[in-house]
């Protein structure tokens, strides 16, 4: 076989190897992404989250307690937002400025406050 054909074949093999490796890597990444989505879907159903925050407003007439909270792992980043409470007692148990550890429960995204526990002042 002529040398130039050998060289061409070697180069083609190299290029194919690089392209193949790149595609294989991409497929791995895809597969991992899908697995992650599946794992998340499998985790659906009733769930419970806990996080710490500070009470910014208590609005029983709107059925909301506004909390500036830390990141709720696996659910939402740190922000200030309103949560619905399951029991009217919870509205009475807290006031603005309380540092709290709260529990959210339900099927995402329909979560409600099931428990609010005051933290000792640091």
């Amino acid at each position: 076989m002529a040398v130039w054909k050998v060289v061409l074949l070697v180069d083609l093999a190299l290029a194919l190897g690089v392209a193949g490796g790149y595609l294989w890597w991409g497929r791995q990444a895809d597969r991992l992404g899908r697995e992650l989505v599946e794992a998340r879907a499998a985790a659906a159903g009733p769930r419970e989250f806990q996080a710490e925050g500070v009470i910014r407003a208590v609005l029983p007439e709107m059925g909301l307690i506004v909390i500036t909270h830390e990141e709720i792992a696996g659910y939402m980043p740190a922000m200030t937002m309103g949560f619905r409470a399951v029991s009217p007692k919870i509205y009475e148990s807290v006031e603005v400025g309380d540092a709290v550890r709260f529990t959210l429960a339900g099927v995402p995204p329909n979560l409600a406050l099931t428990g609010v526990e005051k933290l000792g002042r640091k």
Binding site: A57, E70, T80
Partner: protein, 652 residues
């Protein structure tokens, strides 16, 4: 151990480069049927083969050295497990595997005997050596300093890659070129002389382009890796770079002189002109090659030295050149202007001497004298005092915490002379002549943070040394003095944003709201305009109610409000109570430092600082009424094109 590792790297890099350069020269010279040319070509291929195996062998040494370095124990160099860990689990290892795979493939390819009588076959075979060798060399860029450049390494890697390949084509071709010139300059090699003459000329032309690429990419790499001018003289990396530049200059000068005299003579009469010229050219190229080898040695030292941008530069001179030094002295510009004109005249005279052959020497000498005299006049006004720490970066960020800490130190140790606000009017100031300087004026322009650090450490004139303070404390003092300067600027800021005027850096601060994790003012950079509100209850309550009512409009306009209680109370949210309903962050942790720093900028019971998306302080309102002005300011900022780069984390 280290020396052996460096030697392995040196051998490996040099061999890889010569493989690429030799292949490039063979392709440049082209195919020939002359026996001497054929013999030369097969010797080059034999050299390539030997170098490839040598590079592979040295490569194993490099891997062993890397393993020993990473695991900080010499024995790791001889353990298969450790070698496998480095090769499979580090970026260096991945690049190593790819490179050595390519080199091995090339070594096998070069070792095959094949029939290259067809032009196409010849070109394919020789081109493959250049392709694989070049690929193996180029991949090296992905494991060097360039790969660690933040935020985007791609541009740095591409520049590095071009630098490596250009170095390969230029320096790597020299051994093969010497071999060819030697062979063709012998009596027996007369048949290949025309071939050698053409090859030398082609290489000379190609080398010019390649050296230009080398210089351009080299400058780009140096700028990225040094980070500051001070690092050039002040760090090991910078000094090695200067050494490399010096060597490059010598080699290029030697090459230029050699080629200019000898290249035209190569084609002359064989016995009297051509052959001696070719022999001497071989000698000149050998000198060039020795220089290139020395440069590669420096390159290896550079590749293992931490880049200048990561080092604290230790400035070796007692002066530095700065434009601000000229603006500070009224008459200096006249000297600079006249001196630079004289220097330009000198350069023009020197250029004229190239054209006017008859009076070349006197014109050149006169031009040189004029140039020196002009520089001697124009440069000194730029000089200003410098110290070993002049170009050092603060080890402490320009942040409210350190500034407040610096302020406490200042009140304890400095205020008695420098005055409570830095005006040089402390109670003890009258004892000094000249009096202590006004710390608020001109400092940003004239002195670096490192200068201030040096004076605090070692004292200056009547000022005692404060070297007994911890380095962090001294840097905090520097930050505080910078904040004094910023306070002077902040006082000139109005309540209305002036478009395009972003000069005062808003000191960064860290804060927390309730039990949530701490965040920083910096976190809003590039995303939000921040209104920092220093408030005092109960007077500020109506204003806070105004802001709370407008918050839902301000958020979509890109504004975040951060409210800071001036009493620093940790139960600030509770004290604000249920009404008004405030949903923006109210600082419960970190307030005292913020109040100390921002209160230094503008003192007052209620002050609102508007910080733009780049992190610059743009407006200060001590008596805000309504939200009209705030909305107008936000509108101005939102319509403004980006006017300034975001400030660095540290003062300069």
């Amino acid at each position: 151990m280290t020396e052996l590792g460096l030697l392995a790297r040196f051998v490996h890099l040099s061999a890889s480069i010569v493989v690429v350069g030799s292949a490039a020269l063979v392709l440049l010279a082209g195919r020939s049927d002359r026996p001497t040319a054929l013999a030369w070509e097969s010797r080059v291929i034999a050299l390539t083969r030997a170098l490839l195996w040598l590079a592979l062998l040295a490569g194993v040494g490099v891997l062993a050295h890397q393993a020993a370095t990473l695991e900080s124990r010499g024995a790791a160099a001889f353990e298969l497990d450790a070698l496998a860990r480095v090769a499979l689990q580090t970026r260096f290892g991945h690049v190593w595997l790819v490179r050595h795979g390519l080199l091995l493939l090339l070594a096998v390819f070069v070792s095959l005997r094949c029939d290259l009588r067809q032009a196409l076959d010849w070109r394919a075979a020789r081109g493959e050596v250049l392709l694989l060798g070049g690929l193996a060399l180029a991949v090296l860029a992905a494991a060097g300093h360039a790969a660690a450049v933040e935020p985007s390494a791609t541009a740095a890697i591409v520049t590095d890659l071009a630098h490596l390949l250009a170095a390969g084509v230029w320096a790597g071709a020299l051994p093969a070129l010497i071999m060819m010139l030697r062979a063709a300059s012998r009596e027996a090699g007369a048949d290949a002389r025309p071939y050698a003459v053409i090859a030398a000329r082609r290489f000379s032309r190609a080398a010019l382009t390649v050296v230009l690429v080398l210089l351009a990419t080299g400058v780009a790499i140096a700028v990225t890796q040094l980070g500051s001018f001070g690092a050039l003289l002040g760090t090991r990396y910078g000094r090695l770079l200067l050494l490399k530049l010096g060597l490059v200059g010598c080699v290029l000068a030697a090459a230029a002189i050699g080629r200019r005299g000898l290249l035209p003579r190569l084609g002359g009469d064989a016995a009297s002109l051509g052959r001696p010229a070719m022999r001497r050219l071989a000698g000149s190229v050998a000198v060039e090659a020795a220089g290139a080898l020395a440069i590669l040695g420096v390159v290896i030292l550079l590749s293992v030295a931490p880049p200048g941008r990561h080092e604290q530069p230790d400035w070796p001179l007692s002066f530095r050149l700065a434009v601000s030094a000229v603006t500070a002295t009224p008459d200096a510009w006249a000297f600079v202007l006249i001196g630079s004109q004289i220097a330009v005249l000198g350069v023009v005279a020197a250029l004229c001497s190239l054209a006017l052959r008859s009076i070349r020497l006197p014109l050149l000498a006169g031009g040189g004298v004029l140039l020196l005299a002009g520089l001697a006049m124009a440069v000194p006004p730029f000089a200003t005092d410098a110290y070993p720490t002049t170009y050092q970066r603060s080890e402490v960020p320009y942040q409210a915490g350190p500034i407040a800490a610096g302020g406490r130190l200042y009140a304890r140790d400095c205020a008695s002379c420098h005055g409570p606000a830095g005006a040089g009017d402390g109670p003890a100031a009258r004892a000094f002549s000249p009096p202590p300087p006004d710390l608020r004026a001109h400092h940003a322009a004239l002195h670096t943070a490192g200068d201030l650090y040096w004076w605090i450490t070692n004292g200056r004139r009547a000022m005692p040394a404060f070297g007994h303070l911890e380095p962090d404390q001294r840097w905090s003092l520097v930050n505080f003095v910078r904040a004094l300067g910023a306070a002077e600027g902040a006082r000139r800021l109005g309540a209305v944003v002036e478009a395009g005027r972003a000069q005062i850096v808003a000191p960064d601060f860290v804060f927390a709201v309730g039990p949530t994790p701490a965040r920083a003012l910096r976190d809003y950079r590039g995303a939000r305009i921040v209104l920092v509100v220093l408030y005092t209850l109960p007077a500020s309550r109506p204003r806070l109610a105004d802001l709370a009512a407008r918050y839902e409009l301000l958020v979509p306009l890109g504004v975040e409000i951060v409210a800071v209680p001036s009493d620093g109370a940790p139960d600030a949210i509770k004290r604000l109570g249920a009404e008004p309903r405030i949903f923006f962050p109210v600082v419960t942790d970190g307030a005292p430092d913020i109040v100390a720093t921002y209160g230094l900028l503008i003192p007052g019971a209620h002050t609102e600082f508007l910080v733009d998306r780049q992190g610059y302080l743009r407006a200060v309102d001590t008596a805000p009424t309504g939200t009209e002005r705030l909305l107008t300011n936000v509108q101005t900022l939102n319509e403004e094109k980006v006017v300034a780069a975001p400030p660095p984390e540290h003062v300069h």
